[in-house]
């Protein structure tokens, strides 16, 4: 039996071995551990831990897979990790307390939410300079960018709004009031809708990108859990746009939402205080970061069953996966 399992593992690892570099690696920012844990998405094992600045939270990777960007919130900077060497190679000006950011689809600009200064900072990655600072609501946090790169959405936690920003003029064009403490904004792959999660409100608001009006509010209900334990945070929508995964914080579950009916189809049990989500490039797995249990859970997107939980650093916060 063991031999059989080893053989299976070896066969599973084989395609990875022939691939160069860090393809399909999962990067997890550990908010308390001040590190980024690298996990192989094929073997589901920790490969490396990279020390970064203080309080790393938002994390994303360049489209070419060469650079990982991490918000080092307490160091007021965005650090760049070279994926080939696995080392921090530089930093970007970010404005104070960067929490979450989003990379433009062409990989040229970084839009950063500065939680303390009520600003969204736009960074040009080529010149590594600040292009613009856009004043938004109080405590900006969630950042989303439309697939065409023309619209940026920022959510402000205290103002309870989703701010739609024109990417070319850097002006706010629309403000949409959502439920209490909006944490995250995610565009559907076709750009038609933005999903905004509200942590305290316990809802996900679906905003039509054309009319900029809320078309649907998704609520969650888990048998045996009090409503205040259900706090939606991270949202991830599959590349075909058919399913959305919503991380429900202290409910320790990820909700699977049908994007056509807006009905919750399933709740998947993961670790404690599930925060952010990330897909593997093949779309076969979605990975959740479970802050309080210090691990990440791989979920099979075909069956929506949790496959394996892997211990990473202290208080895992964000996750990004290297493209093929």
């Amino acid at each position: 039996m063991r031999q059989h399992m080893c053989l299976l593992a070896a066969t599973a690892a084989l395609p990875f071995l022939v691939q160069p570099g860090w393809a399909n690696m999962v990067y997890v920012s550990n908010e308390k551990g001040n590190s980024v844990t690298v996990v192989d998405s094929k073997t589901m094992e920790v490969v490396k831990t990279i020390d970064v600045g203080q309080r790393p939270r938002g994390i994303t990777i360049s489209p070419d897979g060469k650079t990982v960007y991490v918000c080092a919130s307490d160091d007021d900077t965005v650090e760049m990790i070279d994926t080939a060497s696995g080392e921090v190679v530089g930093s970007l000006p970010s404005g104070p307390d960067p929490e979450l950011f989003v990379l433009s689809p062409d990989g040229k600009r970084l839009y950063i939410a500065n939680e303390d200064d009520n600003l969204v900072t736009v960074i040009d990655l080529e010149s590594k300079s600040v292009l613009a600072e856009i004043p938004v609501g109080v405590e900006p946090e969630g950042m989303g960018v439309s697939p065409d790169g023309k619209t940026i959405v920022n959510t402000s936690e205290t103002t309870n709004m989703a701010h739609f920003i024109d990417a070319s003029t850097h002006e706010i064009t629309d403000n949409v009031l959502v439920d209490s403490r909006p944490r995250f904004a995610e565009f559907k792959p076709d750009g038609s809708e933005v999903w905004v999660s509200a942590e305290i409100g316990g809802t996900v608001s679906v905003i039509d990108n054309k009319t900029r009006a809320i078309t649907k509010k998704i609520t969650f209900e888990i048998q045996g859990l009090r409503a205040e334990q259900i706090q939606p945070v991270g949202v991830a929508i599959t590349s075909d746009g058919k399913k959305a995964y919503v991380a429900l914080g202290p409910a320790n579950r990820v909700a699977v939402v049908n994007t056509e009916t807006y009905e919750v189809e399933k709740y998947i049990l993961v670790g404690q205080r599930v925060w952010q989500l990330g897909f593997t490039p093949d779309g076969k797995s979605v990975i959740s970061t479970n802050g309080l249990s210090n691990d990440i859970t791989f979920i099979d997107t075909q069956t929506d069953e949790p496959i394996k939980s892997v211990t990473v650093g202290q208080l895992p916060w964000g996750v990004t996966v290297a493209p093929n």
Binding site: M1, L225, N252, V270, Q272, T297, K308
Partner: protein, 285 residues
Amino acid sequence: MTNATISAETYQRHGFGLMQYLVCLKGILVREGLRYLHQRERFVSSLVRPLLWLFIFAAGFRQVLGVSIIPPYQTYVLYEVYITPGLCGMILLFSGMQSSLSMVYDREMGNMRTLLVSPFPRWFLLVSKLLAGVVVSIVQVYAFLLIAWFWGVKAPAIGYLLILPALFLGGMMLGGLGMLLSSMIKQLENFAGVMNFVIFPMYFASSALYPLWRVQEASPLLYKICLFNPFTYAVELVRFAFYGQIEWVSLAVVCGFTLLFMAGAIIAYDPSRGLTVRKQEGAPN
């Protein structure tokens, strides 16, 4: 059974061939199977017990014990998923004890003599009886797992195949224990004592209800007791098999105890050496 005995007697002086042994085995299996089929309430009650635990007990603990990763689990499981192999063990345990109850009943009603006067070796008759009980309990386990499947407790397909040998071994061990106990019980009424002093302690002081690390947190003594409880190993063997793995320590422990209990039962039921002799000396019947 009677037919098998008669045909066997014909060959008594020449020893028995494999076929005769099989005829005897079939007789015992069929009798046990028929008895089981005729007692539908027994089938229902054997299913209701674990289902109550699954539907009601596990539901209450769902959130409390929802978080723990221990092998063979690779991620977080709900309590009802954790408890399912333990409930399979529970079916084996109750069924093993129940078949020993039926032996006490047989002895009181005199049916036992029909079995024991058979010219086949005593060990073979006892092992056949044990086997019959295990087959019946395995059917119960699969019926339970089917219902659990609809309740959302699912294992990989291979797991359902792999638990078969694990259930068989566990069943033989617990059936052997039941048989050993039945040889020590004089009357049917005493069986209530077995329930309280054997079944419940064995079930509760094991890994069936709580993972051992949690038991250790609560009480190191209880943890040690659990480690010495053979039922723990039967449950773990089933649990690992359910997820396509073999737990070698459990396998060794269960095999060891199976041999021990069966040897004990065979000696106890041996007319020349066993406990039955002593009892008959004391009691007129």
